[in-house]
Symmetry: C2
Subunit: 123 residues, 2 copies
DNA sequence: CGGTATCCTCATTGATACTG
DNA sequence: CAGTATCAATGAGGATACCG
């Protein structure tokens, strides 16, 4: 009804709500990995991508890719019909995420030790 | 044993692994909200914080705060014993997250519409 | 090669209620 | 005011197998 209030109450409307939106995008466990891989490797096929991302299962990769595609971060192009060959690449929007990813990386490097100080695993 | 390989395989060791670490920190649904609120409001009490964050339950807020505290992002200070009054504030580390949060916000503002183009809710 | 379909498990969230 | 306890619901993630 009141379309003046389409934002969550805790989103004062100063645009900061996008933090959550962006965070939920970049924070999805495998998304940053995928984006980073695509950022540094360029277009990759499904399996190649799976290799790059290591432990991810095809199901999860597929889902992630779907999500990323829906959000216009990556594009899916069929480069060969037979045998089927597809290429996933970042869209302009996806590439525009570089600074964000860089920002995360930079902070992590400066403030989080590579060795991880989660401390909880040391007991 | 081999401390040369303490990083996940998909973490080439070029420091980008921190992306994931940072993302998992900032990407935790309520964390960015809490951090932002603290960033703009300064120290806040538990309930005040809950008000600010809107729909969060005390349980989840409590857990988030625990997590954030453990990660040295926020500090918890008892400012009054009776009645009990506590203040949550960002640590230096927490404040150092500002650029990261800004980066997320900025990207979201520029590339994500405030109106959300998730498109799936429109059917 | 590029995916889907199942099934299962665990982490996270949320609502409600209750305590010091 | 500042939390914790409980319990139910959801959903992301993972292993495996199978299909075009």
């Amino acid at each position: 009804m009141e379309d003046t209030e389409r934002l969550p109450a805790w989103c004062p409307g100063e645009g900061w709500c996008s933090i959550t939106a962006t965070a939920s995008l970049v924070g999805k466990k495998w998304h940053p990995v995928i984006i980073h891989r695509l950022l540094s490797e360029g277009a990759l096929g499904f399996n190649a991508l799976q290799e790059e991302v290591d432990g991810i299962s095809s199901k999860v990769l597929s889902e992630s890719l779907d999500d990323l595609e829906e959000k216009r971060i990556v594009s899916r192009t069929i480069v060969s019909e037979k045998p089927v060959r597809v290429e996933y690449a970042l869209t302009d929007l996806g590439e525009s995420l570089e600074p964000v990813v860089m920002s995360l990386a930079e902070w992590g490097e400066q403030h989080l030790d590579p060795v991880e100080e989660k401390a909880s695993s040391v007991v």
